[in-house]
Symmetry: C2
Subunit: 183 residues, 2 copies
């Protein structure tokens, strides 16, 4: 991902935080993580996040989804004998459609990213509006998409080790690689 | 505490959440916990809280402090060989003055609750404004007070077991006892 693309996404996420009335420290705003998953289609498959705290006991993040932006399907594996990451998603602003393992919903509200349908396999829909939350049990495959205005979601969880996440799409690289723009 | 006093404090806290743009589910709003600590002076020593999630791995709450309301000094002890609760306080709205063990600050901004000064013994001040946060290490004595407009504080932590908290004031009962108003 180009540095300019990262900066643009950071500014867009910062504007959404401001609209939602969520205050970030200046260094948090400057350091908003932009995850494009190595797919080169940030607008449709990507995620913006601020990690407030990540200790060996718990983690808290704020996630931003642009309108209809999707965080691709993945699972958090057990690590060193500890069960996989457990996560509670709480919608703060906008709307998010979350999909987990279980009985597939008849008509889902999300749009599966074009060309990636083989990598979306779970369709039990949970719609979250502000003030609503859902806890994803460890070892549950899941993906999520912002609604028409996007979403801001608080994630409360056990310790986060993003580098171990297993994505259904084998082309995905979770950890961002940023390339400087040419002069 | 009388049921009417609890209801009044719940309504006041709900109004502060609304002003801060923090949306609660109706059942969360109806169930706001009002902790008076058995002292009968809720306005000066008390705390209002919503527990979003509390699992065996992590916990997240939203804390409300009315203007100059103080959560009395306490410590989270180790339980069953696990270190005491670790907490990150993130100010979302208003201002909070937090006091922890360490070098006492020369002039503190909080007002120690009248008549309770023997039970306030740590004075290292941390001022938190919206977007600022502080992580309290396990086994650290601490107390905190809302500023002139009060405060809303997100608490991210390890598992919460409030009933084991040890307060410096031996008169304190952490778990609320609610008495119905007389007809």
């Amino acid at each position: 991902m180009l540095r300019s693309e990262v900066r643009q996404a950071q500014q867009r996420a910062a504007a959404m935080f401001a609209e939602a009335g969520i205050t970030l420290a200046p260094e948090e705003e400057a350091g908003i993580e932009v995850a494009g998953f190595g797919l080169g289609q940030l607008e449709t498959q990507g995620l913006e996040l601020v990690t407030y705290v990540n200790t060996d006991r718990y983690c808290a993040k704020e996630l931003v989804l642009f309108p209809r932006q999707t965080c691709p399907e993945h699972i958090h594996p057990p690590i060193n004998g500890e069960p996989g990451k457990m996560e509670t998603f709480r919608c703060r602003w906008g709307k998010v459609f979350l999909y987990v393992e279980g009985e597939p919903s008849k008509n889902i509200s999300a749009i599966v990213p074009l060309g990636s349908s083989p990598y979306y396999t779970v369709f039990h829909e949970v719609e979250l509006n502000p003030g609503e939350q859902y806890t994803i049990a460890p070892g549950t495959r899941h993906w999520f998409q912002g609604g028409n205005e996007g979403a801001i979601v608080s994630e409360f969880s056990s310790t986060s080790r993003d580098e171990y996440d297993i994505f259904t799409d084998p082309a995905i690289q979770r950890m961002p690689v940023i390339t400087e723009d040419e002069a």
